[in-house]
């Protein structure tokens, strides 16, 4: 076991292991930091959702908690006007590209976006930025689940589950920029790909993009 150290998060003294990532130390100690893409076991985090910003004393600008290793004596703040502003903008940006009809969504009340909105008192509305509204065909080819990309936040949890946990490799990111998407090789429907329908990706999806058909409301 690595050396035990003490850090301060929001004025609380917290014991941690040197080298652990700050995000998980905070979450393990019931200190909430918004996050979507973070995966504890991943050595080099994606750091792509840009929601887990914190301020660390001595650093000029906010940093992502998922990428920062804790160090002895580190003093961390999870809230400040600067952080709140960045998180709000990041969140609003994600919503602008998210099919926000919660009532029809199988993940309603079980959605990471709703958690972030509640914890940080953010509006689940798309009034700040014009909705991007990319058009996607629903992939309901698997027997028990479906993939609605209009709800996907590109966090990559499903890709990790598919590649590392299930060791299948049916899905991954393709395309660039605003067209970035999670899909199969050659954009085949999941049922026609090498997908084994193990459903680990459905379990991993923090929003309602990958969902069980039986949960889908009429």
């Amino acid at each position: 076991m690595s050396e035990e150290i003490t850090i301060t998060i929001d004025d609380q003294n917290i014991k941690a292991r040197r080298g652990e990532k700050l995000l998980w130390v905070a979450l393990d100690n019931d200190i909430y930091i918004p996050h979507l893409c973070a995966i504890k076991e991943e050595g080099r985090p994606n750091a792509s959702c840009r929601l887990c910003f914190v301020e660390i004393e001595g650093l000029e600008r906010p940093v992502t908690a998922c990428t920062r290793k804790v160090e002895e004596g580190m003093v961390v703040n999870t809230r400040s006007p600067r952080i709140d502003r960045l998180v709000k903008t990041g969140f609003d940006l994600l919503l602008s590209d998210h099919n926000l009809n919660c009532r029809q969504c199988p993940a309603n009340r079980n959605c990471a976006l709703q958690v972030i909105a509640k914890k940080r008192k953010l509006k689940l509305k798309r009034d700040r930025f014009k909705p991007v509204d990319r058009k996607f065909a629903l992939d309901d080819s698997p027997a028990e689940f479906a993939f609605d990309r209009s709800r996907c936040v590109l966090c990559g949890q499903c890709v990790w589950a598919d590649r590392v946990e299930a060791e299948v490799g049916a899905i991954g990111f393709t395309k660039r920029g605003i067209n970035r998407v999670v899909t199969t090789f050659n954009d085949l429907p999941l049922a026609d790909s090498i997908c084994t329908e193990c459903k680990l990706c459905v379990e991993a999806c923090p929003v309602g993009a990958l969902y069980y058909k039986e949960d889908k409301k009429a």
């Binding site: 080099r44 985090p45 994606n46 750091a47 792509s48 959702c49 840009r50 929601l51 910003f53 600008r61 906010p62 992502t64 990428t67 600067r82 502003r85 960045l86 903008t89 990041g90 940006l93 994600l94 602008s96 590209d97 700040r128 930025f129 014009k130 991007v132 590109l154 990111f173 395309k175 660039r176 920029g177 605003i178 067209n179 970035r180």
Partner: protein, 636 residues
């Protein structure tokens, strides 16, 4: 020691190169500038013309290709070196001029100075480039031989002392090289200005013997061509710099990452690597020592993001060219997970010079904090476009007014865009800012890799910001939220403004979003993408306001905010030029013989305005797009 003395081996190589070079100097030599820019201007035709004319006259003269001389405005260019005369450079060449030069100068003895631009050596007859206004301010270090040396022959490089820094260094210890670079305070020329010595030392201090040296030649800014010119025109300088770096940090393999859109750079560098290998300057046991280093070219596929260090490494490893969060830095965990030094083309090019001439020499140029020079590609509304190298600390005003010879007549300075899509637009009031990493950063721009575009009253700052944002938005890899979606929304807002839509709140949102994209993005592409927007908002806020509040584009650029109008009092019955120039038949002849535009049909292509003879100048652009009242419209 028992090992061969690298200096001695080198001296033999150099002597051989000198003799080779000497034998060429007995006959006239025509050097045609055939870097990419020269080619685009027709240099190959000029070269063929020279060969044909020389053959017709049955002269004993050789025509060779050289790289970029840096005077883009006068391409195609050639230098004629004839024994008994100073070498003379001629610009704007065509077949007629070539014929004349061959007849009068090569066959005869008249250098035709009336067509010459400058001599390359001091003489009593004709001024040199140093006598140009820009020559006073320019200080060429890494560009010194660009365009004046035969890039295809390693002997030309060696004869002028090339690879002697390597030979010297190999006789001593590797830490001596590092000490010199640190002492010289060489800062990376890729844009951020990170001290090269610190980077190299971090790599050196990592254990393990598998380390890499990579040269970043993925120059992708619109309007920038410094790295391309250096790679095309003087490839050995960069290669020697990389070998020295590899020796200092203990690497045995290096790569030059060059974008595939630079085929000539790729070709020249590959050729140079081959030649260096044949001379024993690359490969195993360099100059007979125990030090071995191999170099390869890796061609990038043209994604702007791959100029970002971690994305570059990912793309070399066969992954998607996407950035990673740092730390770990590349010096800890780079290519294939091994310690890697990644520097820009120009950074490596300084290295042999610093080793050869010493850190004190380097520090005597520029400012003490930021020694050395800065290389800029000077473009836009400026008389002498070109590739220039000036000491750090030169002001923007000197660069534009003296080195670039000011703006063409009729152009009034409005802004200068520095650093490409990652940089900013600075106004007149910032022109006395000295050129260095920190001062420019403070003003809101960045040094970037050195693109510099001068703009005048006909450039709309909103359109310029929109242009650069369209570029970065298109080049965003899409990995992180802020860059993927933030640049998209910024672009949408800017597009609306160029259409006169939006309100002052939209401007506030644009500014807020820009700041958040800057602070929140994963990599430097996203973090710097808002710079063109934030600087134009800061310095040209009124122009944004005019678009929004008055529906007016002051520069008369934004198509939705202008209309074309033929002023009856200026138009002539005797002229029909505009009618023929219109692709949509929008221009008709009125009953009184004057011309008018059917606004429904007009596509605002600007053809009629360009076609209208200057003595009339009757076609006007009006912004906001409101026609004058009927009385004026119907007037004769």
């Amino acid at each position: 020691m028992g090992k061969n003395d690298p200096q001695k081996i080198y001296e033999n190589i150099r002597e051989e190169a000198r003799q080779q070079d000497q034998s060429r100097q007995d006959k006239p030599l025509v050097m045609v500038g055939t870097a990419t820019c020269g080619l685009a201007a027709g240099a190959m035709q000029v070269k063929e013309d020279f060969i044909r004319e020389i053959k017709n006259k049955d002269l004993n003269a050789e025509v060779i290709e050289v790289g970029c001389i840096g005077h883009c405005y006068a391409e195609p260019l050639a230098i004629i070196a004839k024994p008994g005369f100073p070498p003379v450079c001629y610009g704007n060449l065509d077949d007629g001029l070539v014929h004349r030069l061959v007849e009068d100068f090569l066959a005869g003895d008249d250098p035709s100075y009336e067509y010459a631009m400058a001599a390359l050596e001091r003489n009593d007859e004709f001024p040199t480039f140093e006598d140009f206004p820009r020559g006073v301010y320019e200080e060429k270090l890494i560009l010194e031989h660009c365009g004046f040396t035969d890039f295809s022959r390693i002997d030309s490089y060696i004869a002028r002392g090339g690879y002697s820094a390597l030979a010297k260094s190999l006789s001593g210890e590797p830490d001596h090289v590092l000490a010199m670079i640190k002492e010289a305070n060489l800062r990376g020329r890729g844009g951020a200005g990170f001290p090269a010595g610190t980077k190299w030392e971090a790599c050196l201090n990592k254990s393990g013997d598998e380390k890499y040296v990579i040269c970043n030649g993925d120059e992708g800014d619109p309007g920038a061509f410094m790295d391309r010119s250096v790679l095309e025109s003087d490839p050995h300088l960069v290669i020697e710099g990389m070998i020295l770096c590899a020796y200092a940090v203990g690497a045995s393999q290096g790569y030059l990452y060059i974008r595939a859109e630079y085929p000539r750079a790729v070709e020249h560098v590959r050729h140079a690597i081959k030649q260096a290998g044949e001379k024993g300057l690359l490969g195993s046991s360099i100059l007979g020592t125990g030090f071995s280093f191999d170099l390869e070219v890796f061609q990038g596929s043209g994604a702007f993001i791959c100029g970002e260090a971690t994305a570059l490494v990912n793309s070399m490893e066969g992954k998607m060219g996407m950035p990673e969060s740092r730390p770990p830095r590349l010096t800890d965990q780079g290519y294939r997970g091994k310690p890697t030094v990644l520097n820009n083309v120009k950074t490596f090019a300084y290295v042999p010079l610093i080793i050869e001439r010493g850190p004190d020499w380097f520090k005597s140029i520029g400012t003490p904090e930021r020694p050395g020079t800065a290389v800029f590609s000077l473009v836009g509304k400026i008389n002498s476009t070109g590739l220039v190298e000036v000491p750090m600390g030169t002001t923007l005003r000197q660069l534009i007014e003296e080195v670039g010879d000011g703006l063409p007549e009729g152009c009034e300075f409005k802004a200068v865009q520095i650093g490409g899509p990652s940089g900013g637009c600075l106004p007149e009031s910032s022109l006395d800012v000295p050129i260095d990493f920190d001062s420019l950063h403070e003003a809101g721009a960045i040094m970037g890799s050195g693109g510099l575009v001068v703009m005048d009253q006909e450039d709309c700052m909103v359109s310029v910001a929109r242009y650069f944002l369209e570029f970065t938005q298109h080049e965003s890899c899409g990995k992180c939220t802020f860059c993927r979606l933030g640049t998209k929304h910024m672009l949408d807002i800017l597009t609306d403004i160029t259409r006169g839509e939006g309100d002052l709140e939209t401007l506030e949102l644009l500014k807020e979003l820009g700041e958040d994209v800057r602070d929140g993005s994963l990599c430097n592409l996203g973090r710097t993408a808002p710079n063109p927007v934030l600087t134009t908002l800061r310095y040209f806020y009124d122009e944004y306001k005019a678009h929004i509040e008055e529906g007016r584009c002051p520069a008369l650029v934004c198509r939705d905010l202008i209309l074309y109008y033929i002023k009856p009092s200026k138009c002539s019955k005797l002229c029909n030029v505009c009618v023929g120039s219109c692709p949509t038949e929008a221009i008709y002849t009125r009953d009184d013989g004057l011309k008018a535009i059917d606004q429904e049909k007009c596509v605002k292509c600007d053809n009629c305005r360009k076609a209208c003879p200057t003595e009339y100048d009757a076609v006007l652009r009006l912004s906001p797009p409101v026609l004058p009242d009927e009385k004026e419209r119907k007037a004769k």
